[in-house]
């Protein structure tokens, strides 16, 4: 296979758009691939369309959205090629990418690949989470951003993390019928995180912005309850209510939609499939690729930028995109050492400045143990194959030490989602059962295709649908 482009960037969020712009501006041929119909990524979803549509939505979605428009504009002017609506289903260590577009599967080879595939929401395996009527808060936000869709049924939002405040506020302001917002962050966390607060405050406006969202949420008139715990969703065949412990009281809420959210974790699929080494991050309780300060992975041709390398937020993602593209340009001999140093100075400074904030947020919002490992035996962990926490614990007691072995006993992680919704839980659960560090237990081995591909697409034949 010949080399098709110098740089392929996967993911058109702030990290990917910035990386692609930087690479193209440096004179490299560059293609940016994203499965969405348009660039923007998670935070700036549908940014160009919304920017064109006028004020109301921009207002609801906040000032950040405007910053996204500038990133998108730079990208459009950079000369990088944008291929939207393209899923990347495979990536190997030689920089060969498998793509699916309308016409079927095809392969391209890039001299360097920058994976900027963003984050995914952490699975929240509470009792009843597989009932129809339970969604992730992020998906509700996605519907709002991409389709201006807001559900009008009685809704309860439960979870924790900065995004909880933001997305809940956005949904309330867009007219959703929110019965209650249950914040599951334990109160003691303030204490644990307090030491890092002064430095976090200096790291930039985000913390103040976060507090502002929280204030807006509290002032919205919607019932906001903190220190919630033991979330369980009730219903036969679909959601009819939710029970939680708030403080020391059990409370019941009637609702037909539950939106869960316990933070986001790096989307590690492509980098893992390519063979890059990943370590378990104890504080964020997730896996992340091992990276040098510029985003180089342990695989020579592959770099990672943005949330895909560790959760950091949009501003950091853009800076990391810039750094990764500079590293790739330097490694390909396209820019010299002086130029490399000049270009990386500003983004590196930003990365340094944001670190204390990240630590503070990670400490504050570290998921509770009950999110990582469901305490009840009946709670489903792998929803595709309907494997419960109890069954996995039984398998662990039989001597099964890791998630690749537990597949053979239970099929956990072998269904249509191929572990996207359960890999983390399985590892944490088996680690807890053996009283081991999850780093030891390991992660479900990921295999291509990372997105389901039909026989017809893969065979390159036109789909007769």
């Amino acid at each position: 296979m010949s080399t098709d482009v110098d740089i392929a960037v996967i993911g058109a969020g702030p990290a990917g758009m910035t990386a692609a712009s930087t690479a193209a501006e440096a004179g490299l041929s560059c293609v940016l691939l994203d499965e969405q119909a348009e660039p923007g990524g998670q935070i700036y979803r549908a940014i160009e369309r919304l920017a064109a549509r006028g004020e109301r939505f921009a207002e609801i979605l906040g000032e950040d959205y405007a910053r996204g428009a500038a990133i998108a504009q730079r990208f459009r002017q950079s000369g990088a090629v944008c291929q939207a609506g393209v899923q990347v289903f495979d990536l190997d260590a030689d920089g060969v990418l498998g793509l699916i577009a309308d016409e079927g599967a095809r392969w391209i080879r890039a001299r360097r690949v920058i994976v900027a595939a963003g984050a995914q929401e952490r699975p929240v395996p509470v009792p009843g989470w597989t009932l129809p009527g339970v969604m992730s808060l992020g998906s509700a936000q996605t519907l709002l951003k991409s389709a201006a869709m807001v559900s009008d049924v009685p809704t309860v939002i439960a979870g924790s993390g900065p995004l909880l405040y933001l997305a809940a506020t956005q949904l309330i302001e867009a007219g959703a019928r929110i019965e209650a917002v249950l914040d599951t962050m334990p109160r003691e966390r303030y204490l644990a995180a307090a030491a890092g607060l002064p430095r976090a405050l200096m790291a930039g406006g985000e913390l103040r912005k976060g507090l502002a969202w929280k204030r807006r949420l509290k002032n919205s008139g919607v019932r906001y309850l903190s220190n919630a715990d033991a979330i369980a969703i009730a219903g036969e065949g679909r959601v009819t209510g939710l029970r939680a412990r708030v403080g020391h009281r059990d409370m019941d809420f009637a609702c037909s939609l539950v939106l869960l959210h316990e933070g986001v974790v790096p989307n590690v699929q492509l980098a893992m499939v390519a063979g890059a080494r990943h370590d378990h991050d104890g504080l964020q309780a997730c896996w992340r690729p091992v990276l040098d300060p510029f985003g180089r992975t342990t695989v020579a041709n592959i770099l990672v930028a943005g949330d895909a390398g560790g959760i950091g937020g949009a501003e950091l993602a853009a800076a990391e995109g810039e750094l990764a593209a500079c590293a790739a340009a330097y490694d390909l001999g396209c820019i010299g050492e002086r130029e490399f140093e000049r270009r990386t100075r500003v983004p590196q400074a930003l990365v340094r400045r944001k670190k204390p904030l990240r630590r503070f947020l990670d400490t504050l919002f570290r998921p509770r143990d009950e999110v990582l490992v469901p305490p009840g035996d009946d709670t489903i962990v792998c929803r595709c194959e309907e494997v419960t926490a109890g069954e996995l614990r039984r398998i662990a007691a039989l001597g099964c030490t890791g998630p690749n072995q537990s597949k053979a006993f239970s099929r956990a992680g072998m269904g249509p989602c191929q572990g996207r919704m359960c890999a983390l839980t399985i590892s944490h659960l088996l680690a807890a059962a053996h009283d081991r560090d999850p780093a030891h237990t390991g992660h479900l081995r990921l295999r291509p295709p990372v997105k389901p591909v039909t026989v017809g697409q893969m065979a390159g034949a036109p789909d007769d649908a």
Binding site: D90, D92, G98, A105, W107, R394, L398, G399, C400, T401, N404, Q405, A408, F409, R411, M414, G415, P416, Q418, R447, P448, P449, P452, V453, T454, V455, G456, M458, A459, G460, A461, D463, D464, A465
Partner: protein, 416 residues
């Protein structure tokens, strides 16, 4: 050992299935055994089982570097058949099929052997001639195999497209009705459980790192968990055989290739049998879970990467789409590979070696799962008696020097 029966299932159902015993122990390695088997796949565990059961050797251990069945046993597409051309192969594989037929009873463990029929498609005149020759040869050896017209093939497997103008037209098929599939992990687990009950130590997470010799005879193995003395060592390490045999200073006529397979999303039962096409290097069946299980050819170059090239998969799926257009919109969920060890004549080696007390069972290439019980049974005989069973006697290491090959490679192009 806890016996499995309707009664025990019912009793355990009442207690929420919390009282099942562990199917096998997890012992610490002893400093010395009468024999050790390197490799806890189906063949290795089976060998240990028959050593204990039929030859009374119970002070033995199976050493597995990972977990039981984590090698090719747990990665394969589980096709079972015995319609090989040569007398030697037909005898070996049919010995296995006969053991498969009673294996669940023998082990009191459901290995889910399902003789649903294996149909091999002929796409050109050469295929037709070769398959008919196979059928006649098989019949002479008492192995069932029959010729089907395209219409009969379609009746046996309705999703098959038998239009004459296809790129790979179906000109007929050879059907072995006793062929089929079995549950891969269950074979390893069933043998493990049986061997354990007879006193065999099954030691997981115990990689063998060296083989110690005293002159021309083996005296023990180095492992990650210490040195273990053993006057007899059986190597059953599939794709890692070359590496392990190197430890004893024995060079093997083997090449390792990645072999790939993939599965689709589960659907309702649509595919009643196993279909193979050697010409296009594809084979397909439907699992009990409803997934289509698809096997591809080996890569063209040797490697130890358990990944394999995607172009092979692309080629396989193109062919499958031709043969079964209904699968066009089935989603493929996962692709994987295993390292298979291939001999020059594509037949296995089940034999003594130049080192006394060292035995090797390897070279199963792309098709050793089907042979598991037969291979294990005859290999146990070879180790216990220090001489081969008549069935595996031809599968020597020397044949690559003497030229007395069992050339299934030439006979079938591939052997799954």
């Amino acid at each position: 050992m806890q016996r499995y029966s309707i009664v025990s299932i019912a009793r355990n159902a009442l207690t929420g299935h919390r009282n099942w015993q562990r199917a096998w122990r997890s012992p610490e390695p002893k400093p010395s055994y009468d024999a050790v088997i390197i490799g806890g796949g189906g063949h290795g565990l089976g060998t240990a089982y028959y050593l204990a059961k039929e030859h009374g050797l119970t002070n033995i251990a199976v050493l597995e570097k990972g977990w039981l069945g984590g090698g090719n046993t747990g990665r394969n597409t589980t096709i079972i058949r015995s319609n090989y051309l040569y007398d030697e192969s037909a005898a070996l594989y049919d010995h296995a099929v006969k053991l498969w037929e009673g294996l669940s009873q023998e082990l009191n463990y459901n290995t889910m052997y399902s003789p649903r029929g294996v149909m091999m498609l002929a796409h050109n005149v050469h295929d037709v001639q070769v398959f008919k020759r196979h059928i006649y040869a098989n019949r002479l050896n008492g192995v069932d195999n029959e010729w089907l017209t395209p219409e009969q093939a379609k009746a046996y497997c309705p999703p098959l497209d038998i239009r004459r103008d296809a790129r790979y037209p179906v000109m007929g098929a050879a059907l072995q009705r006793r062929g089929g599939t079995a549950r891969h992990d269950a074979v390893a687990w069933g043998y493990a459980r049986g061997a354990d009950a007879l006193g065999v130590d099954i030691i997981q997470n115990c990689e063998v790192t060296g083989i110690r010799r005293d002159g021309d005879k083996v005296i023990g193995v180095e492992t990650m968990r210490g040195y273990i003395q053993a006057p007899k060592v059986g190597v059953v390490a599939a794709g890692n055989t070359t590496v392990v045999m190197d430890m004893a200073g024995v060079r093997m006529p083997l090449e390792s290739y990645p072999l790939q397979a993939l599965v689709s999303e589960p659907v309702k039962p649509v595919f009643p049998c196993v279909v193979m096409s050697n010409t296009v290097h594809a084979y397909i069946s439907q699992s009990d879970k409803g997934e289509l299980v698809i096997g591809a050819g080996t890569d063209q170059f040797t490697s130890y990467s358990q990944r394999g090239g995607f172009h092979i998969i692309e080629h396989t799926l193109e062919a499958i789409l031709e043969l079964f257009p209904v699968f066009s919109r089935m989603r493929m969920l996962r692709q994987w590979g295993g390292i298979v060890d291939v001999t020059p004549d594509r037949s296995p080696i089940l034999a003594k070696t130049p080192v006394r007390g060292l035995y090797v069972n390897c070279g199963w290439g792309t098709g050793g799962f089907k042979a598991t019980p037969g291979s294990a049974h005859t290999f146990a005989h070879t180790i216990a008696r220090d001489e081969p069973h008549p069935i595996n006697a031809p599968f020597t290491l020397e044949r690559f020097r003497t030229g007395r090959l069992i050339d299934e490679a030439a006979a079938a192009a591939v052997a799954h």
